[in-house]
C-alpha cells in the first residue's frame, strides 16, 4: 500500500513557491521529482537521464471543492509536449487522503536528446476556467568524447548488503593473514579501481534493495520498495511513471541481451530492479509475468535463481500465484493503455492459472530445475536462452548448500537442503558460469546482473557465519566474471552493493578454543561470554580458517574465531557460535507442548539464548536493519578507471552507459588482461 510521502506534504505546503499562478487548484505532485518543484531551489537536480532515455511525465492536481480538472498540458523548455495527456480522476484507485476530484495527468515515454538542464511544467485547467501551473527541472547527461572503444558487455555483480565489513570478513576467512599481510586475496580485491558509493534512495538516507539496485541501472532515485518507477498517488502497483532501464535502453538502441542471476527468489527486489516496473516489490505474480511478457523490450535471455512458486499455475501444489498481485493494463483507460501504446509494454493479464515455465519453454528458453540440469544446458553448443528455478523461494544459503554437498559425498542425508526438498542446487559461481556461456553467444553483447542475495538476508538475521560464506560464494562468482573479462577484452565488470546491512563490525577474535567457548556458554552471562571471549586489538591475532578443496572453510566453529559485532542490531543473545539449525541436533531445546503465549510477543529468543549473554539492540523488532553508510565499489576491465572518488549510486548508471554507448573515458587498465581492449562494431 502506498503512502503519501513527507515530500508530497512538503510540496503541497510549499506550493506557493512552486506554482507561478495563485490559482485555487493546486499541483500536489510533479514527476520527475525535482527540488525546483519541492522547495523552489534549482539544485540539486534530482532526475537525470541519458540522451534518448525514456521516462514518464506526471502531475497530481487538486481542484477546488466541487470542481474538476478539465485539461492538462505539459511543457519542456516552454514547448508543449507533443503527446496525448492521459487524464484521470481519483474517484477510485487513489491512495488514502487524495480527494475523489483530484486529477492525475500523465504523458508516457518521453525523451530528450539535448544535453543539459531542462525545465518542464504542467498547466492544468479547472472546469471553471481557472488555471494552475507548476514547474520542475531535470538534466540530460551528455556522453563525453571517448578515449577508448565501446565495451561490448557489462557485468554488474551486486553483493546485497555487502559493506566493507562483509568484504573484509570474507577476506580474513578465505585468505588468511600472515604478519598482517593477506595470504590469498579475494577476487574483488584484485580489481584496479575503487569508488565509495552514496546509497540514499529518493525518500530515505537508508535505502532498501529496490532503489538500491535501480539507481545503478536507471540513473534515478526511486522510493523504497519501488523499482523502475517514480512515486505516484494511485494504489495500482504497475501504473507508476516509468524510467527506462539500462537493459531496455541498450536492447532498444544496440540489441544487447539481459541476464539476471540471483540466489534469491527471482521476483525479489534486486533481480526485478533490472527489468520490471512496479511500486510494489512484493507483487510477485505480476513481476515474474513482466519478466517474460516484456522480454522483447529488455532482451531477457538468462534468468536464474529461486522463486519457482511464482511460475506454477495456481492449481499446482506449491504455487504462490494470485491475481491480487498480478498486473493487467486497461485497453480503454488511457492512464494505463498509454503504457502499452507508447512504451510497447505487454498489456498483461490477471492469469493466476498461467504456466509460466511452459511459457518460457515455448519461447525457446531451456528450463533447468537443478544444478545437474543447468550443467546439461551448457554442454556442447548449449542453450541460447536459459531459465533456472532451483528453489521455491530463496535458494538455500552457501553454508547449507555446501553442508548438503559434503554430506551427500559421505552418504549423509537430512541436511537443510534435503529438508527443503532441493538437494541439487547450484552455487552462485556455477550459475554465473552458465549465464556467461549462454550470453557470450549474443552478437551485440549483454548486460548481466549477478546477485549474492543472502549476504544481506543473513546479516538481517545477524547470522555471521552464513553471511560470511555467502560473501565467499559471491566472490567466487566475481572470479568467474573476472576470468571472462580477462579472456575477452571488451567486458566491463563492477562489484558493488546496494546498501550496507546490519552495521557489522569486525570487533576482534575469540581468545578461546571452540571447546572452551562452548563451556563458557554453559557458565552463562556477560562475564563468561564477553569478558573472557572477546579479544580486542592484539588479542584478536589472526583467525585461521582452513579452506577445503571446495573453496569454503572446513569448519566455521574454529578455535580463536573471528568475532563480529553489530551496530544496527535488534536485541539478541550471542554465543559467537554458528547458528545451528539441525532438526536432529542433540543441542536442540525440548519440544514444548504447553499452551502458546500470546501478545505481547517475546523477542530475541533464538538457539544461542542459553548462554544468557544479551546484547541490547538499538533498533526495535527482531532483525538487524539496512544502514546508511557508503559502500565500496570495485571495477575491472575497460572503463574501470572511471569508477573513482565518492560518487552517487545514480552516477554508476551514467558511467556504465558511457562505456557501452560512446566508449571509455579513462585509460584501460591492462592488469591481467590477456589481450588489449577491442572495439565493438558499431
Amino acid at each position: 500500500m502506498k503512502k503519501l510521502s513527507p515530500m508530497l506534504v512538503t510540496a503541497g505546503a510549499l506550493m506557493g513557491l512552486a506554482a507561478t499562478a495563485q490559482a485555487a487548484p493546486t499541483v500536489t505532485r510533479l514527476t520527475p521529482p525535482s527540488e525546483m518543484f519541492a522547495s523552489g531551489r534549482p539544485d540539486p537536480v534530482i532526475a537525470r537521464f541519458l540522451p534518448g532515455q525514456r521516462f514518464d511525465l506526471q502531475a497530481t492536481i487538486k481542484p477546488d471543492a466541487g470542481q474538476r480538472i478539465s485539461a492538462a498540458r505539459f511543457f519542456i523548455d516552454g514547448q508543449a509536449v507533443d503527446a496525448a495527456v492521459a487524464l484521470r480522476d481519483c474517484a477510485s484507485g487513489c491512495v488514502k487522503g487524495v480527494s475523489a476530484e483530484t486529477a492525475i495527468a500523465t504523458v508516457r515515454a518521453v525523451s530528450l536528446e539535448k544535453a543539459g538542464r531542462h525545465e518542464f511544467s504542467i498547466e492544468a485547467t479547472q472546469a471553471d476556467g481557472q488555471k494552475v501551473t507548476a514547474r520542475g527541472n531535470l538534466e540530460v547527461v551528455p556522453f563525453t568524447a571517448a578515449m577508448g572503444p565501446k565495451v561490448k558487455n557489462i557485468i554488474i555483480l551486486l553483493g546485497d548488503g555487502m559493506g566493507a565489513a562483509q568484504r573484509t570478513a570474507a577476506r580474513i576467512v578465505k585468505g588468511g593473514y600472515a604478519q598482517g599481510k593477506v595470504i590469498a586475496p579475494l577476487a574483488m580485491d584484485t580489481f584496479p579501481a575503487t569508488a565509495l558509493v552514496k546509497t540514499a534512495s529518493l525518500n530515505s538516507v537508508v535505502t532498501d534493495s529496490s532503489p538500491g539496485m535501480t539507481a545503478y541501472v536507471s540513473g534515478n532515485k526511486n522510493n523504497n520498495n519501488e523499482e523502475g518507477v517514480f512515486p505516484d498517488d494511485t494504489v495500482d502497483a504497475f501504473d507508476n511513471p516509468r524510467i527506462e532501464y539500462l537493459s531496455e535502453y541498450l536492447h532498444r538502441t544496440q540489441g544487447k541481451a539481459l541476464g539476471i542471476v540471483t540466489t534469491a527468489d527471482v521476483f525479489d527486489a534486486t533481480p526485478a530492479g533490472n527489468a520490471v516496473h512496479t511500486s510494489n516489490r512484493g507483487a510477485g505474480t505480476g513481476i515474474v509475468d513482466q519478466f517474460f511478457d516484456d522480454r522483447s523490450r529488455t532482451g531477457l535471455t538468462v534468468l536464474l535463481g529461486g522463486g519457482r512458486k511464482w511460475f506454477l499455475p495456481a492449481g499446482t501444489p506449491g504455487s504462490e500465484r494470485a491475481e491480487g498481485n498480478d498486473y493487467a493494463f486497461s485497453a480503454t483507460d488511457p492512464h494505463t493503455a498509454e503504457i502499452v501504446k507508447r512504451w510497447g509494454a505487454a498489456p498483461g493479464a490477471k492469469d493466476k492459472d498461467r504456466d509460466l515455465i511452459q511459457a518460457f519453454q515455448s519461447a525457446g528458453y531451456r528450463y533447468a530445475p537443478t544444478r545437474t540440469a543447468l550443467q546439461a544446458a551448457t554442454d556442447g553448443a548449449g542453450a541460447d536462452k536459459l531459465l533456472g528455478l532451483f528453489a521455491f523461494s530463496n535458494m538455500n544459503v552457501a553454508l547449507d548448500k555446501i553442508d548438503g554437498r559434503r554430506g551427500a559425498a559421505k552418504g549423509i542425508t537430512g541436511t537443510v537442503v534435503d529438508d527443503y526438498g532441493f538437494p541439487d542446487q547450484p552455487m552462485l559461481d556455477e550459475m554465473a558460469r552458465a549465464a556467461l556461456s549462454t550470453l557470450k553467444k549474443q552478437p551485440k553483447g549483454f548486460v548481466l546482473m549477478i546477485e549474492g542475495a543472502s549476504i544481506d538476508k543473513q546479516a538481517h538475521n545477524m547470522d555471521t557465519e552464513r553471511w560470511m560464506l555467502d560473501t565467499l560464494e559471491f566472490d567466487r562468482a566475481v572470479q568467474v566474471a573476472q576470468e571472462f573479462a580477462r579472456e575477452n577484452g571488451d567486458t566491463l565488470v563492477i562489484v558493488t552493493a546496494d546498501h550496507e546491512c546490519s552495521g557489522a563490525a569486525l570487533i576482534g577474535g575469540s581468545m578461546l578454543t571452540d571447546q572452551a567457548l562452548q563451556e563458557a556458554a554453559q557458565k552463562k552471562g556477560v562475564a563468561h561470554l564477553r569478558d573472557k571471549v572477546v579479544g580486542v586489538y592484539e588479542k584478536a591475532g589472526f583467525p585461521r580458517y582452513r579452506i577445503a578443496a571446495d573453496g569454503y572453510p572446513e569448519a566455521t566453529d574454529i578455535d580463536y574465531r573471528l568475532l563480529v559485532g553489530y551496530g544496527a542490531n535488534a536485541d539478541r543473545y550471542e554465543d559467537w557460535r554458528t547458528n545451528t539449525t539441525p532438526l536432529r541436533d542433540s543441542q536442540q531445546p525440548l519440544a514444548k507442548s504447553e499452551p502458546l503465549k500470546w501478545y505481547p510477543p517475546v523477542p530475541m529468543e533464538r538457539d544461542d539464548a542459553f548462554g544468557e549473554y544479551l546484547v541490547t539492540g538499538q533498533v526495535p523488532g527482531e532483525s538487524a536493519v539496512h544502514t546508511a553508510t557508503d559502500i565500496p565499489l570495485s571495477a575491472f576491465g575497460p572503463g574501470a578507471l572511471a569508477f573513482t572518488g565518492v560518487i552517487d549510486n545514480t552516477d554508476v548508471f551514467f558511467k556504465l552507459a558511457q562505456a557501452a554507448v560512446k566508449g571509455t573515458t579513462a585509460p584501460a587498465d591492462a592488469t591481467g588482461a590477456k589481450r588489449p581492449a577491442k572495439a565493438t562494431a558499431r
Binding site: 526438498g421 538476508k457 519440544a591 517475546v602 530475541m604
Partner: protein, 185 residues
C-alpha cells in the same frame, strides 16, 4: 529494562530432554513410512518430511497420500515457529527448520520451505498475536490441505486449525510484558 530469560535448566538436563525429542523425531521421518493407526480420537503424528515427494522435482509439489488422507483430521506436528518481524494476528508459520523473517526488507522473498504450515488460531482469537518461542513446539489441530489465499494475497497449501485451548488464557505478566517494555523508545 526487563528482559526475558530462559528458565534455568541445566545443560545436562536439557541435553537429556533434547535427545529424547530427537529420538522421537527420528522414529518416523522417512517419507512413506507408515504410521501405526492412532488410538481412537488420538491425533495422528504427521512429519513435514511426509508432506510431499522428496526431492521436489522439476515443477510443483506432489502431495503424498499420507498428507491427503489426513485432510480434516486431528494431527500433531512438531516444528519450529517462524520468527516474524511483522507477525500477523491470528496466524503464524510452522516449519521443519528454524526460519527468521525480515519482512520489511525482503517481503515475500523469504526462506520458508515448501512444507511450511500456516497455523490458524480459533476464529474467536483471530486478533491475537502469538509470542515467538525458540526451539521445537508441538501443535495439535485439524489439518487442512489445499490452496487458500488469505486477505494479503498470500497462498497457503497446508494449514493447521488450532483449538481455542491452544492459547494461554492471558499473556504472562513476566517476560512478555517486560519484553514489550524493552522496545519502548
Amino acid at each position: 529494562m526487563v528482559h526475558p530469560r530462559n528458565p534455568g535448566m541445566s545443560m545436562a538436563k536439557l541435553r537429556r530432554a533434547a535427545l529424547a525429542v530427537a529420538a522421537s523425531l527420528l522414529s518416523a521421518t522417512a517419507f512413506g513410512q507408515s504410521i501405526a493407526p492412532p488410538a481412537s480420537a488420538a491425533p495422528q503424528d504427521l512429519k513435514f518430511a511426509q508432506f510431499f515427494r522428496q526431492p521436489v522435482g522439476d515443477r510443483g509439489l506432489q502431495l503424498s497420500e499420507t498428507l491427503l488422507s489426513a485432510q480434516g483430521q486431528q494431527v500433531r506436528l512438531v516444528g519450529y515457529m517462524v520468527a516474524q518481524e511483522q507477525p500477523q494476528p491470528g496466524r503464524f508459520w510452522l516449519t521443519p527448520r528454524p526460519v527468521r523473517m525480515s519482512e520489511h526488507a525482503d517481503g515475500e522473498a523469504d526462506d520458508l520451505p515448501a512444507s511450511t504450515v500456516t497455523v490458524l488460531l480459533d476464529p474467536a482469537q483471530r486478533e491475537r498475536l502469538i509470542a515467538h518461542r525458540n526451539g521445537l513446539v508441538v501443535l495439535t489441530g485439524q489439518l487442512q490441505v489445499g490452496r487458500q489465499e488469505d486477505g494479503s494475497g498470500r497462498v497457503s497449501w497446508v494449514r493447521l486449525q488450532l483449538p481455542p485451548q491452544a492459547l494461554e488464557d492471558a499473556p504472562s505478566a513476566g517476560g512478555a510484558a517486560g519484553a514489550a517494555g524493552a522496545h519502548a523508545h
